[in-house]
């Protein structure tokens, strides 16, 4: 119990970056953001700020000893503004003082003169002006043009999906602590310790070996700390280096909301053609991704949009094109689903319209087009171990779709002012980083002479339960009780060159690496046991803290075995590296096998609209989800439920509103609404697909972090079905989020 994070969570004893103490002489930093979305920095005078009590320094771009550049994929993002201002909230200066309050008071005393220029905020406008992060990309299969004449039904249109604030409850934070010989230890709330380490080394102009980055845990991240934790850690490091004192930088909520990037808004055009039986023949789609002012991870996110343009459907002729558009909003970034939700939303909107046109239930159209074993995906991979139809059919029967439809029909017939709707949402999501090189991980395992075990990997715990899964894999491999193991913090000094904990791959990659390291130690220990027991190592195993021979107890226990190995001068430590086998992708041809496997599932969503008040409720979400042979049903269920509610929030509730000048207006929890316990559906039921081990990942399991988010998209279409019940003829909105205001306006107009 006590090795479990949740035990300490309940007692309030887990420590987040801002909770850590013990830094003698700690100073606090605060960031001066650009007040304009686009402009030129005319004058930056910090002299008055420096005279204020408690202020130690106010740092600007001129104080950066190395490169003023934090771009991860493309070098297009300065740490501190230098001349040009690209978005409202762009860091311009850093005040360092004895207290957070004094640091923020210092910011108010900085004299900043800017020339404001008209900002570019719209993705399509940016594309029209050629303001792109990278050249557009197209994924294609078959021949779309040749297919249109063969289609019995063609629908086309435009679809908008809004951005989404991560709203991790722990805001961005980092503490940088100078050590001897110009070393620096940085505690960062990041999903990407090695990324932070690399950028700090670049900014300070020092070798990476001089910078250690350590992560204890995150109070939520959801992608928002994959690339966007870096700036704050680098600023803290810059100040600690300059002042030779520990420096903490923790954003306040409003700062965090204004300064950091969010899920990308997309505007998309589609054309979908089907034959008379409702089978998709052709799909053409163009995505305009609003990337904001710098690349961040936008190109990788757009790539995943293209990978998932077809969602869970077999489409023989596809052309999907994506533009990553540079605008003057804070750089948009990773968020659970990583571009896939935006893609799936468009195709679901197209199918909904096609179903209306054909007079079919959307669910029927979805069913007829599900992927099957061996189908070729637009990126060239042939689908293996498809469970799309299995999940869909089980959802239909387990949740009694027919009864649900009848319930909705009866309700709508009986109620004039209130209507219900339902929707199905099948999901197929590829697992692996689509940048193939990131699919590697390391682990370092020490067995101490008392038999206790320390496991370090590159995985960052952020609530997704990765540490528990690694613990389980390590304990099973060593054959000992999990109470003997400890999962350590994530530190670049123990495990180097880590990939971000992202793309749902944390447990897959790091769990495998830990498993390999434990196997190595196990094999050495069994040699020791063999010598001691005079038995061939092949006949021995360790189970329940004891050495067994052909299943029988030998009297040799774990602790004694470890002691014996130590005295025999056998290493009790092992390092291991894991790289996902068999995956590759060629960006010239846009073909390959980028994914180790796919995750499948289908959700049934029911919703009600109060037509008088324009108030919507998502009543229930029920899903059949493919978790493989789940390592922890409790954790995986929690991931699915949490993802579902975030997805519902994205399409119904959460709305980013910017002024015409590109300033975020919804920058507090009172103006940007996330689901509370009453908004979340009272009924969420997740059933795991039975007897479905996954040959391609850790102990038969499957990644679980991202795919369930997309079940939430079903809420949008359940609400559309309810709206349709009010007004049979009126064109429906395809612009997420579908907020209560929009519903009321649609009903009233």
């Amino acid at each position: 119990m006590k090795q479990n994070d949740i035990f300490f969570h309940g007692r309030g004893e887990t420590l987040y970056a801002d909770d850590l103490g013990g830094f003698a002489g700690l100073l606090h930093a605060a960031v001066l953001p650009s007040p304009v979305a686009r402009g030129r920095l005319l004058r930056l005078d910090v002299s008055a700020a420096l005279r204020l009590p408690g202020v130690a320094a106010v740092l600007t771009a001129a104080d950066i000893p190395g490169e003023n550049q934090i771009g991860g994929i493309l070098p297009d993002e300065p740490l501190l503004a230098d001349g040009e201002l690209h978005f409202a909230g762009q860091p311009v200066a850093l005040a360092v003082a004895a207290t957070p309050r004094q640091a923020r008071q210092a910011l108010a005393a900085v004299r900043l003169e800017v020339e404001e220029l008209p900002p570019l905020l719209d993705a399509r406008q940016a594309a029209a002006q050629g303001s792109l992060i990278a050249p557009p990309r197209t994924f294609a299969l078959g021949d779309v043009e040749a297919s249109w004449p063969l289609c019995a039904h063609v629908v086309s249109g435009r679809v908008e999906t809004g951005g989404q604030e991560h709203l991790y409850l722990e805001t961005q934070a980092a503490v940088a602590v100078p050590g001897e010989k110009d070393t620096l230890r940085v505690i960062s709330a990041t999903q990407s310790p090695s990324g932070v380490q690399r950028i700090i080394a670049r900014v300070l102009g020092v070798p990476m070996s001089q910078v250690a980055v350590e992560v204890y845990r995150l109070g939520g991240a959801f992608g928002g700390k994959e690339d966007q934790a870096t700036a704050w850690a680098a600023l803290a490091a810059l100040a600690a280096r300059a002042l030779r004192r520990p420096v903490k930088l923790a954003l306040e909520r409003r700062e965090d909301m204004r300064l950091t990037g969010k899920r990308h808004p997309y505007s998309s055009d589609f054309r979908l053609g089907l034959d008379a039986e409702g089978r998709i023949l052709a799909y053409e789609v163009t995505f305009f991704q609003n990337a904001g002012a710098a690349a961040d991870l936008s190109t990788a996110i757009l790539e995943r949009t293209l990978f998932h343009a077809g969602n869970s459907y077999r489409i023989p002729n596809v052309r999907a094109t994506g533009y990553s558009c540079r605008t003057n909003l804070p750089p948009f970034t990773a968020f659970r689903g990583f571009g896939a939700p935006q893609a799936m939303f468009v195709l679901e909107a197209a199918l909904f319209q096609a179903a209306e046109k054909m007079g079919l239930e959307p669910g029927e159209l979805q069913r007829r087009n599900l992927l099957h074993e061996g189908d070729e995906l637009p990126y060239g991979q042939k689908l293996a171990n498809s469970r799309a139809a299995r999940c869909f059919d089980q959802a239909v029967s387990a949740f009694d779709l027919e009864a649900a439809r009848e319930r909705v029909r009866a309700y709508n017939a009986a109620n004039a002012l209130s209507k219900k709707g339902l929707a199905l949402l099948p999901v197929c999501f590829g697992i692996s980083f689509t940048s193939t090189h990131l699919n590697q991980a390391g682990a370092l395992v020490h067995v101490y002479t008392d038999g206790s075990v320390s496991v370090s990997t590159g995985a960052v715990e952020m609530g997704q339960g990765v540490n528990g899964k690694i613990l389980l894999a390590a304990a099973r491999t060593l054959g000992i009780a999990s109470r003997r193991l400890r999962i350590e913090s994530t530190c670049t000094r123990r495990v180097a060159n880590t990939s971000p904990t992202a793309a749902s791959t944390g447990a897959d990659l790091n769990g495998r690496a830990a498993e390999l390291a434990c196997r190595e130690i196990r094999s050495r220990l069994l040699q020791v046991a063999a010598a001691r027991l005079g038995a061939p190592a092949g006949e021995l195993e360790i189970r329940s803290d004891a050495v067994l021979r052909a299943g029988q107890k030998t009297g040799l226990g774990w602790e004694e075995l470890v002691q014996a190995a130590y005295l025999a001068r056998v290493s009790l430590s092992a390092q291991a590296h894991y790289a996902t086998p068999g995956i590759h992708f060629d960006r010239a041809s846009e073909k390959g096998e980028p994914f180790a496997y796919h995750v499948f599932g289908t959700a049934l969503v029911e919703a009600t609209i109060d037509g008088l008040r324009g108030v919507a409720d998502v009543d229930s979400v029920r899903a059949v989800h493919d978790a493989g042979a789940s390592l922890s049903p409790l954790v995986d269920r929690g991931q699915a439920e949490g993802g579902i509610v975030q997805g519902i929030g994205w399409v119904t509730l959460e709305e980013l509103i910017y002024s015409g000048q590109g300033r975020l207006l919804t920058d507090t929890l009172s103006t940007y609404k996330v689901p509370d316990i009453r908004t979340a559906p009272a009924t969420i039921e997740v059933r795991f697909l039975k007897d479905a081990p996954n040959p391609a990942a850790l102990l038969g399991s499957k990644a679980v972090g991202e795919p369930p988010f997309m079940y939430g998209i079903g809420a949008y279409f359940a609400l559309l079905a309810a709206l349709r019940a009010f007004r049979p003829e009126k064109p429906l909105p395809f612009s997420a989020p579908l907020t209560n205001e929009k519903i009321l306006a649609w009903l009233a107009e």
Binding site: G10, G12, N740
Partner: protein, 388 residues
């Protein structure tokens, strides 16, 4: 007797000389290193900083969940502040155990706030109905779980502890049951006595002469959102514990509501329920438990904002308002008190003392509508009240 603010913090008598306007959460985290109380938003909208504040009331300690980010340190004087650390025992309390058993915590940041809110519910709620337990955590935002596991934890918790808690009669038996179950540590049973000793030993200092520039703070639930950091450096005039502002009292033709009466006071008042039966139900639409426990009627009125739910309701009930400056007082219709958005018929130095709501002999019919993005815990997009 040393100067400063004296109170019980968890199991310990505590005294601080920090400025009374310091936000309680900063005292807890920075001075006391009680980091289980977390800062998520500093506007009372996330619940991560929830603590319990116990006060002696009719010989027993009455606990309420409050947002410590919006709570002036000066107002804890003579009370019992309970943080998550003050609930911990050697293992897990039944509330914590329910969260562990159901996997109702992921990143863990919001978990202490939820545990504290639910413990407050178990301490005070009369019937312990599951839906009311859900209401008790409406102010606690969790971004990880989607709340499903939290609902399961609540159901499990009530299944396990409800019968034993409700078995005894009277507040003392209930507290004993809660201590026996481990919901609260055993020392809770001695808090009433210790608070009594505390207030006897250190009578609240007589209000010194306040300067004209002192900031009037009633509940502080909006003031701390707007001006939090500044308030630690200002002289405050704290009204919530001051005589003459609290309470709800009847008159022949109307009901008086003290300006420092909280929304929770209105919801729990038998007088309010008798005069305006639907009102307590409507008030559930106002903010969250943590804020309702602290937000005052007077504060909602002087905020002079059309989104103030109470203002709209009281206007529909044709309330009058009593204003006081020193020994002077005057009364006017609430509709004459509002001059416009954020504009009031309030003279310098004047404070709101009470609201008087007419009570018709044949009863008053009241309806309130609030449409917002969320059903609860939200600011009205539209609010309307009709009184007949």
């Amino acid at each position: 007797m040393a100067a400063g603010i004296a109170f019980l913090l968890n199991g310990r008598e505590t005294r601080t000389s920090l400025p009374p306007g310091t936000a309680l959460v900063d005292f807890l985290r920075d001075e006391q290193r009680l980091t289980g109380t977390r800062v998520g938003c500093r506007e009372g909208d996330c619940g991560a900083c929830t603590v319990l504040l116990g006060r002696l009331q009719d010989g027993r300690v009455r606990y309420r969940a409050v947002a410590s980010c919006l709570f002036p340190l000066g107002d804890v004087a003579g009370g019992h502040v309970v943080t998550i650390e003050g609930l911990n025992n050697d293992g897990l309390t039944p509330v914590q155990q329910a969260f562990v058993s159901e996997g109702a915590s992921q990143c863990g940041f919001c978990t202490p706030g939820l545990v504290v809110s639910l413990t407050g519910f178990l301490l005070e709620d009369a019937a312990l109905e599951p839906d009311d337990a859900v209401s008790a955590v409406e102010g606690n935002i969790c971004r990880c779980t989607g709340y499903a596991a939290i609902r399961r934890a609540i159901e499990r918790l009530l299944r396990e502890v409800r019968p034993a808690i409700l078995a005894g009669a009277g507040p003392e038996a209930r507290l004993a049951a809660l201590a026996f179950l481990g919901v609260v540590p055993a020392f809770f049973t001695g808090i009433a006595e210790r608070l009594g000793t505390l207030s006897a030993g250190a009578p609240p200092p007589a209000p010194k002469r306040e300067s004209a520039g002192a900031v009037v703070v009633a509940g502080g639930t909006d003031l701390y959102v707007q001006r939090g950091p500044e308030l630690a450096e200002r002289e405050l005039r704290l009204l919530s514990q001051r005589d003459g502002f609290a309470g709800i009292w009847p008159a022949p033709d109307r009901l008086f509501i003290g300006a420092a009466a909280t929304v929770a006071d209105l919801m729990e008042s038998p007088l309010v329920a008798a005069a305006f039966p639907p009102l307590p139900g409507f008030l559930r639409l106002v903010s969250s438990t943590q804020v309702r426990n602290r937000a005052t009627v007077g504060g909602n009125i002087v905020n002079a904002s059309p989104i103030g739910d109470l203002s709209v309701i009281l206007l529909a009930l044709d309330a009058s308002i009593g204003l006081r400056r020193g020994a002077r007082s005057r009364e006017l219709k609430l509709r004459e008190f509002f001059l416009g958005y954020k504009k009031l018929n309030l003279k310098p130095g004047e404070v709101v003392a009470w609201l008087g709501v007419p009570v018709a002999r044949q009863g008053v019919r009241l309806h309130f509508e609030k449409v917002a993005r969320r059903r609860r815990q939200d600011i009205a997009s539209v609010n309307a009240a009709i009184g007949l």
